[in-house]
């Protein structure tokens, strides 16, 4: 009964999404406030029904109702409760429902936090979001009904894929989806602005916090996913340039470009058409990512099922979205010209260069991801494009981005004197190169890649510090406290995020050039050496869990004769599917991780053990945390709330004027 209620609620949500898609847009066109007013309750009602539907599905998982096909395939009576709940989205149908729910959550957030927007504009935003929502809910209902019954019911389920039974997987999908789907808000704002023909600084300012928050979610989602891959896949890699990772990374790159382009549009009124294109592009890449992951054209841990109908449906959705948006853009492009003019040396130019480079980088990832699919589809042979391609393209493209990123904030808007600014930062630049080359030499790894990476990181850190010092020195004579207070939250956000990139680069460079790895056969009492650490194998014991059998190795970690504790990697076999799994064990530190995983047991009782030494790897996540924090600061700037109040007053005034 409960699954049927959930199914019915989802159908009601579809009806409401269609109402939300049609009525407010008609209202905005006819300037009827009654029709426009329908958007808000329709969106909120829709959220209620999707949430209800989602809870019903979760209930089927918690109750181990294996007459529901989805629960039978992705849960088991012995699965821990936490993974019963997260198992709901550990599959195609459930994750689509999660997609629809995050979109609906974003829409409700727009209805709550955008009371200051003009009615017609809000109506158009809600209308566009309604169409997207209708597309995804109908997709779920038509091709991937999560409530499908399995009759007769099976005695027990097949359990959730053991790789997904991990705390990282509890938060990774919701964060990532909130990010992906969040770009639909930026998209809806852009389309609404195109529809109304009003693309001005106010539009950019309304759109900015939404874009930034979506970007924060996406950053966090990607970082958690990468952390999960690092400790769960059992061999210590943190990024694989896997198509599914690329699917989330492309919208991130374009979203980053969009955030910066919006800044120019808000402050200077320039780049308007470019900003609109980026908003359309970022959302299209989010949809493309969903297509890649969900259609089964690529095979990976994320692609659960291969059903061509599903792929076609998303592809059609993608074509409609891109086609319609570009058509609308072409019709309105003449209104997008103009904006503030700027000199060749100005912050605008540096942001423009950053935008172009990020877009090109995104396109190169797109090419590397899609090219094998094209060749395969055309029957031209099977190839794979691996990490070497992406690294060969990415390093040269990102190097100028990082150099500019640290230098750009020194430049003034509109026009600046290049020579004076270059002279100002030249000492920091020279020092960075010296530090980079020197420290690469000091760690005994003087390759151009290590030297480049460390120089770039030093440049970002030094230039950021200099920027901060200059900003604090601007108001000579003021007290230190008032100087600090004079800096806005959005400036701090920019500063933190840029600084975080510096930390991130240190992590990537160090782990890329200095990590050590050893596969070794070990019997009880035997030891191995790696990077100054001694690993003593103290034997393996049985360590069975609720839904798996396991052997747990005890490996003592010793440094300079001092024991640092016991590492306990496990080899598990999940009972429902008989699937083996490697559970690594880590000694995490600020400057290095030591990482151990168990291979297989040999006939003579010895184990194959993989030992890893990962210097500075946690700096990668620290960098991501700083970037995310930067985004939070930027979105929390008081300016948005202050100006929102002004907009609200203006909107009320406008309404009163219209009524009179």
């Amino acid at each position: 009964m409960i699954p049927e209620l959930g199914h019915f609620a989802l159908i009601l949500a579809l009806v409401l999404s269609l109402v939300q898609a049609v009525v407010p847009l008609v209202g905005a066109h006819r300037n009827s406030s009654a029709l426009m007013g329908v958007g808000r309750p329709a969106a909120q009602g829709q959220f209620f029904f999707i949430l209800f539907s989602y809870v019903c599905l979760t209930w089927a998982f918690i109750q181990s109702d294996f007459s529901v096909q989805l629960a039978a395939s992705n849960s088991h009576s012995a699965t821990p409760l936490m993974y019963k709940i997260t198992g709901v989205w550990g599959n195609h149908e459930g994750s689509l429902l999660l997609w629809a729910m995050s979109l609906s959550l974003w829409t409700v957030a727009v209805t709550v936090f955008s009371r200051h927007l003009p009615d017609a504009f809000l109506a158009r935003v809600l209308g566009v979001l309604g169409w997207v929502s209708a597309g995804f809910i109908s997709f779920t209902l038509v091709t991937s009904n999560p409530f499908e019954r399995l009759l007769p019911a099976v005695a027990d389920g097949r359990d959730l894929n053991p790789l997904l039974q991990d705390p990282g997987m509890i938060i990774h999908p919701p964060l990532l989806y909130m990010g992906y789907v969040g770009f639909s808000v930026a998209f809806a704002f852009a389309i609404a602005a195109l529809l109304s023909g009003r693309l001005d600084a106010a539009w950019a300012r309304w759109s900015r916090p939404w874009t930034t928050i979506a970007w924060v979610f996406l950053t966090a989602g990607i970082a958690v996913g990468s952390g999960w891959a690092y400790y769960e896949l059992g061999w210590g890699g943190w990024w694989f340039w896997d198509p599914v990772e690329n699917a989330s990374f492309m919208p991130w790159l374009l979203g980053t470009a969009l955030m910066h382009s919006l800044a120019v549009t808000e402050k200077r009124g320039a780049f308007r058409s470019w900003t609109v294109l980026l908003a359309i592009g970022a959302f299209s890449l989010s949809l493309l990512g969903t297509f890649l992951v969900r259609s089964g054209v690529i095979t990976s841990v994320h692609a659960f099922a291969t059903d061509p109908k599903r792929g076609l449906y998303i592809l059609a959705l993608l074509v409609i979205v891109i086609g319609f948006s570009l058509l609308l853009y072409a019709m309105r492009a003449n209104k997008l010209m103009g904006g503030g003019s700027f000199g060749l040396v100005s912050r605008e130019t540096s942001l423009l260069a950053n935008n172009v480079l990020l877009t090109v980088a995104s396109a190169s990832v797109l090419l590397g991801t899609l090219y094998p699919l094209f060749l395969d589809a055309l029957g031209l042979g099977k190839i794979s494009v691996g990490p070497p391609y992406f690294e060969a393209v990415f390093v040269p493209l990102m190097t100028p981005v990082v150099v500019l990123m640290a230098f750009g904030p020194f430049l003034r808007w509109k026009d600046d004197d290049l020579l004076a600014e270059v002279r100002r930062v030249a000492p920091a630049f020279v020092a960075s190169v010296a530090i980079g080359v020197g420290s690469a030499w000091a760690v005994d790894h003087l390759t151009w890649r290590t030297a480049l990476g460390l120089s770039l990181a030093a440049w970002v850190v030094l230039a950021s510090l200099q920027l901060l010092a200059r900003r604090l020195g601007e108001r000579a004579g003021a007290s230190a406290g008032s100087r600090l207070r004079s800096i806005t939250a959005s400036w701090w956000g920019m500063w933190l995020a840029h600084f975080g990139i510096g930390i991130f680069i240190i992590g990537v460079t160090m782990v890329g050039s200095l990590d050590r790895h050893l596969d070794v056969k070990m019997k009880e009492g035997q030891h191995a050496e790696l990077a100054g650490y001694t690993f003593v194998f103290r034997g393996a014991v049985d360590a069975d869990g609720p839904n798996y059998d396991a052997a747990r190795g005890n490996i003592e970690l010793i440094r300079d004769g001092r024991s640092l504790g016991i590492l306990t990697p496990e080899k598990r076999v999940y009972l429902a599917q008989g699937m083996p799994m490697t559970e690594a064990s880590l000694d995490i530190g600020v400057f290095r991780d030591v990482y151990v995983s168990l291979g297989e047991q040999l006939e003579d009782g010895a184990w194959i053990v993989s030992l890893y030494y990962k210097p500075f790897i946690s700096w990668i996540w620290m960098g991501c945390v700083l970037m995310g924090l930067g985004g939070v600061f930027a979105a929390a700037d008081r300016r948005y709330r202050r100006l929102a109040a002004r907009d609200a007053a203006a909107a009320v005034g406008g309404r009163a004027g219209a009524a009179a």
């Binding site: 090109v360 090219y371 691996g386 070497p388 391609y389 083996p580």
Partner: protein, 147 residues
């Protein structure tokens, strides 16, 4: 500076950058594409020597053997028609088993495929598409012969 020459410089810079990016992508493609060959193609000498490529197929029954160091593994990949011997040094993926599909990446050296990577499947019943493709090709060829 005049607005027109300024715009010209911006556009020129953009075009130059685009050319550089295209050149970069093309050269990276040229050097880093990894082609896929079936065991039959490899035994017919169609695979390159000294270059990295991939082979897909089934791990032949009874072929897995470890050397004394415990780390080096020998096994054979087959598409049911031809068999290619493979050596690999390192930890095998969890789901690597005899009689199951597998994809290996590496180089051919003196008739033996020296794998640097053995690709994992994520699911017990999942067959890597390259492996499925190789077996399919071999069976097609067998049918044409028998007809």
């Amino acid at each position: 500076m005049k607005a027109r020459s300024k715009r010209l410089m911006l556009v020129g810079g953009g075009v130059a950058l685009l050319f550089a990016a295209v050149a970069l992508v093309l050269s990276a493609f040229q050097q880093n594409l990894v082609f896929f060959h079936t065991p039959t193609e490899v035994s017919e000498g169609k695979a390159p020597t000294g270059k990295t490529f991939r082979i897909g197929g089934m791990v032949e029954d009874g072929s897995i053997a470890r050397e004394a160091d415990g780390i080096t593994v020998r096994f054979a990949i087959t598409d049911t028609a031809k068999v290619i011997p493979v050596t690999y040094k390192g930890t095998l993926p969890d789901l690597f088993k005899e009689g199951k599909g597998a994809v290996v990446q590496g180089k051919l050296e003196g008739g033996v495929f020296r794998a640097t990577e053995v690709l994992a499947k994520h699911d017990e019943n999942y067959m890597p598409p390259e492996a499925a493709h190789a077996v399919e090709q071999a069976q097609k060829a067998a049918q044409t012969v028998s007809q």
